[in-house]
Amino acid sequence: MKKFLAIVLGIMMIFCCGLVACDNGEIGGEPVDDLDPETHVKISFMHMWSEHAVVFEDLIDDFEKEHTNIEVEISITPYNQIEQVLQAAYISDTLPNVYTFYTHYMNPLVSSSDGVMAGTLNSLHDEIVDWFIQPDSWEMGNLKGNYYSVPFRVTGELVFYNQTIFEEKGWEAPTTFEEFEALMDAIMADGQYTALAAGGKEDQITYLINAMSLFAAVLDGSVEEPGYQVGRLEPDEDTSISERIYEKVKGWVEQDYFGKGAIAVSKQGAIKEFTSREAAMVFANVNNLGDISSIMPNDEIGAFAIPAPAAIADQVKYVYGGYDGLSYNPGASEDERAASLMLIKYLVSDEVQQILADRTQSIIVNKNVTYHDPTYEAFAEEYKYVGAYSTGIDYMTGTHSAGNNSIMTSYLSGTSGQTAKQIIDLISDNVYADMQDPLINNPPVDWYPRQNPKKDFDQSWLN
């Protein structure tokens, strides 16, 4: 019996070692030509919009009629399972030819698999980037100089406001950051409503830190730095501006601008405060609009992106968000890859995007689309800022920086007992630890030194 077990264990160990030695990462390059019309091919397409399954079936039918030599098999996976499903599909050699994932979150599919799960889209980028309302959106899916995802549909959170209350009180939607702050002050001074309900538990309060940090980066010229564009601009020793941003937001938390105990409130809790008319504004997604309007049928709802300081107000706004995107399997045959790119191009074309806007009430990416519903038209105008000044981060983050949002939340709630300077340094140190971890980034990467001195700018909006 002992001999038998020893033999079995030995075989298993050899099998495991063999598995380690075996690589299944054969990938092909990005096809540049369309599929030969005489060649018949069958490809698979996985998407995550079960609520729009019929629309996609119709669109794919039209595609098949247009390209009679291409057959497309559709499958649907819920958005919250798509990452695991795609990874399992890759392992079992059933990765779909074309699939939806997130343009702003391609790292897990690209870096951790050394690019075997998503093919490059550099030529396609050059060919169709002008079709997009926000060309920077492509940068969200840019890793180490290659594009891996075509933005397809916008998702993000705007500041929703109750227009009816605003009219009653004589308040107006802000167009600059200074007006935004004055508006919040006015709502708090009025005393009847919480200024901006936010789900602090799900990091919504930190959107304001992100927004103000982006505005500061635009004003001081950091956004033009090569280091900023790959997400690893060397942190300055002088962190005074960042400290002022952190302290400003913490001050708002302490004065209950986001509601009592906002740091522990969920997104749904924040929306509940808004729909029960306890808050005049709330962070919410366009997907929430239907529910909010049905609960508050007598109130008009408007929305705006967080506006920038007056000096750059016409140049940038901030929306926390990203894009549902389209990628293709680089391990498929050359014909399948060519057909895959044709399908991707078709899905972001003027005609298809217009159908999607009309039938799915989505905010989509094509700049030539028109919205027939004025509310959605107004929302789309604000959503075009999703991805503005986006960076193509060329490294992976992992264990060390995973707790950075928690560190920020503990600072804002006052439970960490640390100063803004300590928090900023700690967050940078954590990111650096991931950059230097050879398993997460091989070879390890370093900070990218600043090439030009920072520009001076009017800092009165930080007071």
């Binding site: 079995v8 598995l19 698999s113 075997v116 799960m117 707790g403």
Partner: protein, 302 residues
């Protein structure tokens, strides 16, 4: 005349044949994953089998360096959670079972069901329910506290100092019924004659509980402690659901950390390394407790 040797030989062959499905199951679902994980812990396996190389003991070195300190912090969080919840659950479970034991049979039937209902609820339902209950301002707990004049209650699931206590409370609420029922069954197995005899000899309720009921249900204490400790050290679902999988606010238990290391950070080799070390820790704790409980049981028997 029966040939005993041939009969035994045939029985042996049939025995071996009958064992084949079990052996295959053990090889495929226990031995193979363990061997596979052990080998992978010496590689740089990130997620898919691309560019996987042997890197010696680097993952173990990482685990015992400063860079891997989060693992030990998470182990400590799990140990705190496990031992505090086990202590509370066992103590309350014993008391509740004793109260139940002394009830009228009709009342027993009703309360047994009520106490056991939370055990049957899936963790997802439990977490959604309690997240609503602990929601700031509008949650049931804060609303009730505001009625008695407490207007600034703690942030139950966000304050690093009390979030673990909150999860311990929910976990106790969920599994108290199981502990209670195990004790209740053991108490019913105690001979009524023994207790009646002791009562005739002048033993009061306290004496009965301390000198008779507790020792005679000691095997249930052992079962409850072992199951609760092993379950606690592996706990994952409540922590995942309460923190949206982030482990923020002092709720980063080791199971969640290992899961994130594998599926979020895509460093499977480190996740399997941690799993191996965690298995050794759990085995050491379980064996120690088993030994201590065994010794105590021997003393009771003596």
């Amino acid at each position: 005349m029966i040939n005993v040797k041939s009969f035994q030989k045939r029985a042996n062959i049939i025995g071996w044949l009958l064992m084949i499905p079990t052996i295959l199951g053990i090889l495929l679902f226990i031995i193979y994953p363990v061997v596979f994980s052990f080998i992978m812990s010496f590689t740089n396996w990130k997620f898919v089998f691309v560019n996987v190389d042997f890197i010696g003991g680097e993952n173990y070195k990482w685990l015992f360096s400063d860079a891997g300190s989060q693992f030990w912090t998470s182990v400590w969080t799990s140990i705190k959670f496990t031992f505090i919840s086990t202590a509370i659950q066992t103590f309350l479970g014993f008391l509740l079972a004793y109260v139940l034991y002394n009830m009228h049979p009709k009342a027993q039937a009703v309360y047994k069901v009520l106490i056991y209902i939370p055990v049957l609820l899936p963790a997802a339902v439990v977490s959604v329910m309690w997240v609503f209950i602990f929601e700031p301002n509008v949650g049931l707990v804060d609303v009730l506290l505001s009625y008695i004049g407490i207007d600034n209650p703690p942030l139950w699931l966000v304050d690093d100092d009390i979030a673990l206590g909150t999860v311990i409370f929910v976990n106790t609420w969920q599994y108290l019924g199981f502990t209670t029922i195990v004790y209740f069954i053991a108490m019913n197995a105690i001979s009524r004659d023994v207790l009646e005899g002791a009562t005739i000899d002048g033993a009061g309720r306290g004496m009965l509980l301390w000198r008779f009921v507790l020792p005679l249900t000691w095997s249930s204490t052992s079962i409850n402690l072992l199951l609760s400790i092993m379950g606690g050290l592996k706990s994952f679902d409540l922590f995942y659901l309460f923190t949206n999988g982030t482990g923020d606010h002092g709720l980063y238990v080791v199971g969640l950390f290992i899961w994130r290391t594998a599926y979020k950070f895509k460093t499977f080799c480190r996740a399997v390394t941690m799993s191996i070390v965690l298995s050794l820790i759990i085995a050491a704790i379980s064996l120690t407790i088993n030994y201590v409980l065994g010794k105590t049981e021997d003393k009771i028997d003596a």
